[in-house]
């Protein structure tokens, strides 16, 4: 109760996170890029594309950007703009789903582990260390080897790679929060462990998690593009920016647009999440602002 009153008082004095985020240049720019990206991805889901993304126009193969095909066409005469729009939905879907899974699993492991403490905590963290012993792309490769290729498998592979990171990020603040007086008070009034953990400890550890989510979205975007580039992620003919970039190899000399636009799309998406993550970190941990 005491904690709640204190938080309420703080809330009335301080402007909201969004308000403070909009005051930071990188946060605002990141937010604008991400909103644009989400709108494009939604257009892909609703099939608001100039042409069906997999429709082949044999006569217009490798056409440069023009009024008919704004971003040109690929080797099979498929419209690049339509494929980039559909690619945005696919990459955002993989990024959101994998980060949601790893956030959920990682936060649960990290918070419960820190709250219970002792040997249980030690054991769980040693298990997480095992996953840290693999370079991310190698772990993803290993998972894809076991489960096979495809969109859903890519999501699971990326989620497994990032779960240990979330477990560590969630664990650290719980260790300090669980020693605070309001938690002792909650225990004294007979609250259940579950209630204390999810209603009192977890809300106080959200700041680093929110920052991590934004950064993880950018990594998962990169990992998905990387796996798809290697032919192990989203499978053709389904459009993915990584697949498109991979298909441009060997053709970029005669059709550079095949490489430029998917490349720019990946960069813009990653840049957006990175800037948003930086902005959120500035807002949620002002000590770091000067150092960035």
């Amino acid at each position: 109760m005491i904690a709640k009153i204190e938080t309420d008082q703080a809330r009335t004095k301080e402007p909201s996170v969004l308000h403070r985020l909009l005051r930071s240049r990188s946060g605002t720019l990141g937010l604008i890029i991400i909103i644009f990206y989400v709108v494009v991805a939604l257009a892909g889901v609703l099939q608001w594309t100039p042409y069906p993304p997999n429709e082949q126009h044999a006569v217009d193969r490798l056409s440069p950007p023009s009024k008919t095909y704004w971003l040109g066409t690929d080797l099979f005469g498929r419209d690049m703009l339509s494929r980039i729009i559909k690619g945005a939905s696919n990459s955002l879907y993989v990024a959101l789903a994998s980060v949601a899974l790893s956030t959920l699993a990682g936060t649960l492991i990290g918070t419960v582990s820190a709250y219970v403490g002792g040997n249980f905590d030690n054991l769980l963290m040693r298990i997480m260390d095992i996953f840290f012993a693999f370079p991310a792309i190698l772990l993803a490769l290993l998972i894809v080897t076991i489960m096979g290729r495809g969109l859903d498998k890519t999501i699971i592979a990326i989620a497994v790679v990032y779960t240990p990171i979330f477990a560590r990020v969630a664990r650290a603040p719980v260790l300090s929060v669980k020693e605070m007086e309001f938690i002792t008070a909650a225990r004294c009034v007979g609250m259940s462990h579950r209630r204390i953990l999810f209603f009192h400890i977890l809300p106080n550890t959200l700041a680093p998690l929110i920052v991590q989510v934004s950064l993880a979205l950018s990594w998962s975007l990169l990992t998905e593009a990387g796996l798809s580039f290697l032919g192990l992620g989203i499978q053709p003919p389904e459009p993915s920016w990584g697949v498109m970039l991979s298909e441009s190899r060997g053709l970029s000399e005669i059709a550079p647009w095949l490489m430029i636009y998917p490349g720019l799309a990946i960069m813009l998406g990653v840049l957006g999440f990175n800037l948003l993550g930086d902005g959120l970190r500035d807002v949620l941990d002002p000590r770091l602002k000067r150092l960035r």
Partner: protein, 321 residues
């Protein structure tokens, strides 16, 4: 310090044990029989007796625990298995590819540290200047551009504007023809170096900004030391500590994780070997290479931790207490 080293060494043992269990279990989780999956369409031609003979040969008819101990016994004897696709022992294949990966990792690390530390230090010293803005923009772009995009761009620029094909295929070892070898390594190393230099730049900049605000820097300045001495001997030396860690971790990644760049530039390194093993379902090779890379990664992280503690004694003291 000795106690810290011992503790860190002991702590690595369960991780390494876990790594071996995970790699072992992962390969056994493959749906169906690993031998049959490896044979692909040819598996249909096998008789029941031949299939059983193959399973007995690979030890797949024994209990999982026994298989694990047999495998570990072999690993300790330096036998990582036999690659059916290549017709060679896995360890031989890895050791054959190691010099390429090692060379690529070291050259890209040198490039990244040269660009990153210089730009980061300049950015911090000239805080909020044009150079600082350029440095920050460089870091933003470097972090957002995936290395496979940078690699593809480099190949494009070289082939279209300079008529050079960096990925011609036939790799030449450094001992055979150093000049030719340099030509083949430099572009992939630049790609990896550029991507990593962005993180180095950011870390150097924040570490320098933090150090430059410390009291001992003010003292050094106020006692009349030349700015160069203050920057190089007092500030940069202390700011380098987090960069050592970052470089160590990156070296670990590069020794196993340069899969995409080795693929783009057709370099016969460990990453490409593993990727091909995945595509060809060469499970003995996937298992051996993964284990090799993970153990290397743990070892490098351990070495970095120990160097870190040696450079900054506060670390060992803090972690002991």
């Amino acid at each position: 310090m000795l106690r810290y080293i011992t503790r860190r060494l002991v702590a690595v043992i369960p991780t390494l044990f876990g790594v071996t269990v995970l790699v072992f279990m992962a390969i056994r989780r493959i749906p169906g029989n690993a031998v049959l999956t490896m044979l692909g369409t040819e598996a249909g031609m096998l008789t029941e007796t031949q299939r059983q003979a193959l399973e007995r040969y690979f030890g797949l008819d024994r209990p999982a625990l026994e298989q694990y101990f047999v495998w570990m016994g072999n690993v300790f004897r330096g036998d990582l298995g036999y690659s059916v696709r290549h017709g060679k022992p896995v360890l031989d294949l890895i050791l054959q590819r190691l010099p390429v990966t090692l060379e690529l990792a070291l050259v890209s690390l040198v490039i990244a540290l040269t660009i990153g530390v210089t730009l980061g230090a300049l950015s911090a010293m000239l805080h909020n200047s044009f150079i600082d803005l350029f440095g920050r923009l460089f870091a933003l772009i470097g972090l957002a551009a995936p290395n496979f995009l940078v690699g593809t761009l480099i190949v494009y620029v070289l082939s279209v504007y300079f008529g050079i094909l960096p990925n011609s295929g036939n790799y030449v070892e450094i001992t055979q023809d150093p000049a030719k070898n340099f030509q083949q390594i430099i572009f992939p190393a630049l790609t990896l170096g550029f991507s990593f230099s962005a993180s180095v730049m950011r870390t150097t900049r924040s570490a320098m900004l933090e150090v430059l605000g410390e009291d001992y820097i003010r003292t050094a300045r106020s006692k009349g030391l030349p700015p160069r001495t203050v920057i190089i001997h007092h500030a940069l030396r202390n700011a380098l500590i987090p960069i050592v860690t970052l470089a160590g971790v990156e070296l670990g990644y590069l020794l196993g994780g340069a899969v995409i760049i080795e693929e783009i530039f057709a370099l016969p390194g460990i990453g490409r070997l593993t990727l091909n093993a995945v595509s060809q379902r060469d499970y003995a090779l996937v298992q051996g290479a993964t284990l090799f890379i993970a153990v290397n990664f743990v070892a490098i992280n351990l070495i970095v931790d120990l160097i870190y503690a040696a450079v900054d004694p506060r670390i060992a003291y803090d972690r002991q207490n």
